[in-house]
Subunit: 363 residues, 4 copies
């Protein structure tokens, strides 16, 4: 299969370039009967929207989503759902000079190597604008998961540069995340993060960070051994997001120094239910969800677009110097939070349907 | 699709349990005309084999592989290749007591939750014995990549517990990796790692670690935006390996503290070729290989099977205490190295064929 | 996977209902560098368009197609192509009475059985309006096949009711097909077919027929044993078209009475090339194209919508009588010709890319 | 995907050549908890086995099937099931002369064109021996369908050459089919068919025929619009069988002469259930099963291997004459019946799981 689809049974196929006609997604396989409106989807999109705060790019896109198929009288019909947002604030002239030069750490060079030609307007298909489609589709999955299982997916900015919150995951709420424009629920640290991002914006530089996600109330049994384990599909989902460089679940990289006797999560009977008394596993065993909280972390590199002069080459291989202009984020983390939420929802939703196919309705 | 296949065009489907009749794999989509013998595949399997050194489980399996289809007169014919190893040293009686108890941090509980029954003999399908099939299939991919592009995949143990080698990746050779039984090319550190593993073996405990991989001579252009990016598929591949808890490519989690001006990799014309003068990216941009070295790290948790008494519950939810017996590795890292090699080869091979389908033969 | 995608490597995903917002298709996997315009696609769509002649439904839809992604400066970029046509001439009021009744031989009943609800406006997703998306995508495949291999796909109406042309397939040209509104290249028979369709239109009745297709210049080697044989994928493609009831390739059902000594196609050296001197096979052997003409026939049932009173039941199971109104074709064959062309092109294109993936560029 | 897998969720991947080591299949996605034994599967295989009667090839293969994974204590575990039969009665010397010549109407030529080399022993992968794997996998699907829904799949030989039974489909039982060695339930016609096949065997010639299948008690709701319609997937399944040249469902090719007013199947309330009072549709509407009997017909060409001298060319393009020797069937129909049964079961089973994934457990 070509690479623009994700999921096996709750399957999305996205399309659209940064400065093409529109960005869209077909969601195929959605269970029938789910109530969904464009307004609900718009709420999720507004969290990803450019220009939403002083620390994001000023590109002004309403990202107004339309539902063009698959929903009738307010309900999904089981047929494919087309969600579409037309591009509005396009300034291709901003990109004319990029036609003949490869921007460092962007995909210009590799798209040219692969396809022999490229849409050089604002990174074309490689633009993070594509993630709009993911967030729109993810909103449908999130609604279903919430309605059916009270699944709650809470992603938040844990780290920006060297600034890290030590707020315990268990205390983080969706509301607290949304209470700061940097989407870090720890207000004191959030304030410092915002200041750092603003400063880097002024300097024309950028910085990376880490998003942490906790998923509550995910049913046990999700994940398909041996290749489509839940952590494997989550890893793929997250590493497919622009700028992602690392993924870890549960104890992750830090857990490798522990001994088995420290790391193992004992089972116990907790009010009639088999639970684990610790959760180094991060909510999965053997690639299948346990019913405990699923949690993971995703590393994002500093944004590649900076306003400083850089060495590079032209498309014909001549050394040159480049200083970007245009409209960009000094840090992708705040806007990446809803993307991580969406991708997590898409993975869970897909595995929910896969569970059902083989094992029947969840009990 | 069910979860026992990997790859789109160079596609493997594995089967087999720890104590079932056999472990096998069908490799579908292999280009015709590749010379391959069971002996060549066996070389790779012997690196994964139990009982290969004093720091691995003494379970005695020859893992003798047979080619039962798809190869004629020494060459692949383009038809599906069946590779099969019968199980020999099975001691199901070792597992009788495990029928009614959930081992902490094993998949016993989740398999039961998902399927309603389980093969309790030596973890059944959740056993790392399954990875035999991956290594066998990967050997075919590795041969093809080497013959066609001189691709070299070198994985090694970088960390066991707190012991870390600082040997520069560029100096690591396949031969040096194989020169120590722990598969760390740094002999001084390897010696300490071996001592630690032996000590933990005596204590009935276990430890985790990190494997690092560098891929040299991978062609540019591999990776399919926007979901099947090369790092995304590598992440999935690695996170599907038993005990894997984390994946990072290029600068990974450490790179998040850098600024864009520090992290960006400048392009330069190096002897007529467009190259980057640094490689924080880890060999991919926009999810597509650049032609530079691809490198990544995989975190493995400590082995769940330990010989110490642990709290757990029975399958009917009663609290109990469990002390494992049987034959196990105190540290999976040395035997996981060929598995990581194999999975990397499978990802590259698949993307090579996907490139060809859309963009024609590699130039 | 859900059922709204077709093809493995040249993969289309369609969406849209008869009276929803739009009908669209994402084409993923198209080779980069193909010149394509909306105007070229429109030419194909106009052959399928309602209201194109006196023997088709008067529903007035321009079916104006837009290219919203994947094409830059007139060329495909290798990224997904979104083709979209907004619905215009919708008269949902025509369908209000159909909300509570199952039309005989329509999909109303089965959609309700499957999904528990349905879009009752003009058959919703089950409407042949969906095939607009197939024709649009097929136009891209046809252009590529023609440019690269001079592949010519010629479908035509061979039979309407009892009226059959005996014009030899070898003499049929695309131009001759287009010279009659019924798309039968035999003008004398075409005239009778048109008269029959007009008469049935007046009577409020309908009739079926057979489309025959010949594909010239298809490269040898296309088709993937053992399940994705070329005839198997052609059969699936054709049987997925609304109203299709039968498919046969080469000698088909009539050939079963022959003996092997009569049916076998001898090989011969024809001007230095291995050819067959007859072609009962229909252009494939062992599921793989031989390089000879590929030909097949597709049977279409009479249109289910008729203006005569019929017995049926309501959605609550009460007996009732129904007389359809609305705008419909008494015979789908003339408008189905471009759909068959498109599906054939999609199958060939997909297999071309699959060939390339495993066996390299076609020689 | 390569072409050796069938099904999306109940997914089989087959391997093996006529004269390789073994023929096998991995069944992935089978629901857990199904009781199945090798003996049950063997019963189905014995219907396909060579040498089963005087009208089939005398090649002597027990086709003894082994279950090597996925079944524990007599029940499927939800993990992949490996079914394997080793090849025994191989006489590669019979095929030495075929190394350098293309047999008319066999796949020798196309395999060479596609792959550049071929296993010339007994047609290699193109041999109908491959269908053994389909029958084995189909037996599992049939058992599940029967247990869960009392689904009954009855295929039978309706036509051999010009000999056709007019026994009404509704009267055909599985037992009656098995009562004659030609698998035609009409004893008088069966006798003539057997005589014809024997005569052609003596003459070294062969003949084709038609298999008809009726499926009783299939649940309503199976089939995935718009491409994976039930008739489309059945067509693909049947046309992927060796020697198949045509497929039709319901009224098929004959129905095209009817008018809509004759062909439409009226709905009626029959004992509280919505049924149709005729069934020209063949059990599906809009590609989805109605709950009525599903019936279809498959055309098979005369066997290509005949013992008469034929004109052909060598692999280097020289004209030559060929007279086959070896062991073959003059008519594939009797042995194709269980293959058609198996493929029908695989299609239904797959669609059952697909229904469940999107719409939940069947009611």
């Amino acid at each position: 299969m070509p690479g623009n689809s994700f999921g096996q049974l709750f399957r999305i196929t996205t399309c659209g370039e940064s400065h093409g006609g529109a960005v869209g997604v077909i969601v195929d396989g959605c269970p029938p009967g789910l109530c969904i409106t464009a307004e609900e989807i718009q709420v999720a999109l507004n969290r990803r929207r450019p220009g939403q705060s002083k620390i994001t790019t000023p590109r002004n896109e309403a990202d107004a989503i339309q539902i063009l198929s698959g929903v009738f009288e307010g309900k999904t019909t089981g047929t494919p759902i087309l969600l579409l947002a037309f591009n509005k604030d396009m300034r291709p002239q901003d990109y004319a000079e990029l036609k003949k030069v490869y921007r460092p750490s962007h995909a210009d060079f590799t798209y040219m190597k692969k396809y022999g030609l490229r849409d050089f307007r604002g990174s074309g298909r490689a633009s993070a604008r594509e993630t709009l489609a993911r967030v729109a589709a993810g909103a449908i999955a999130q609604k279903y998961l919430k309605e059916q299982f009270k699944v709650e997916i809470v992603s938040y900015v844990e780290q920006v540069g060297n600034l890290i919150t030590d707020m315990p995951m268990a205390k983080v709420t969706a509301k607290a995340v949304e209470s700061t424009i940097v989407r870090c629920p720890d207000k004191a640290v959030a304030k410092k993060m915002i200041a750092l991002i603003e400063q880097l914006g002024r300097e024309g530089d950028s910085v990376g960070g880490v998003i942490k996600t906790v998923i509550r109330n995910a049913p046990a049994g999700l994940g398909e051994p041996v290749f489509d384990k839940l952590p494997a599909d989550l890893a793929k989902a997250m590493m497919s997001i622009n700028a992602a460089k690392g993924f870890e679940i549960g104890s992750g990289f830090e857990g490798v120094v522990l001994h088995g006797s420290q790391h193992n999560d004992p089972f116990a009977n907790v009010r009639g239910k088999t639970r684990t008394t610790s959760n180094h596993a991060g909510g999965t065993l053997g690639g299948i969800s346990t019913g405990e909280d699923i949690y993971f972390r995703v590393a994002f590199k500093p944004v590649s677009t900076i306003m400083k002069t850089q060495n590079t080459v032209t498309t014909t291989g001549k050394a040159t110097r480049l200083k970007a202009s245009g409209r960009h984020d000094p840090c992708v983390l705040p806007r990446a939070v809803p993307i991580v939420d969406a991708m997590a929802a898409l993975v869970l939703m897909d595995h929910l349907l896969r569970y059902r196919a083989q094992c029947g309705d969840q009990k």
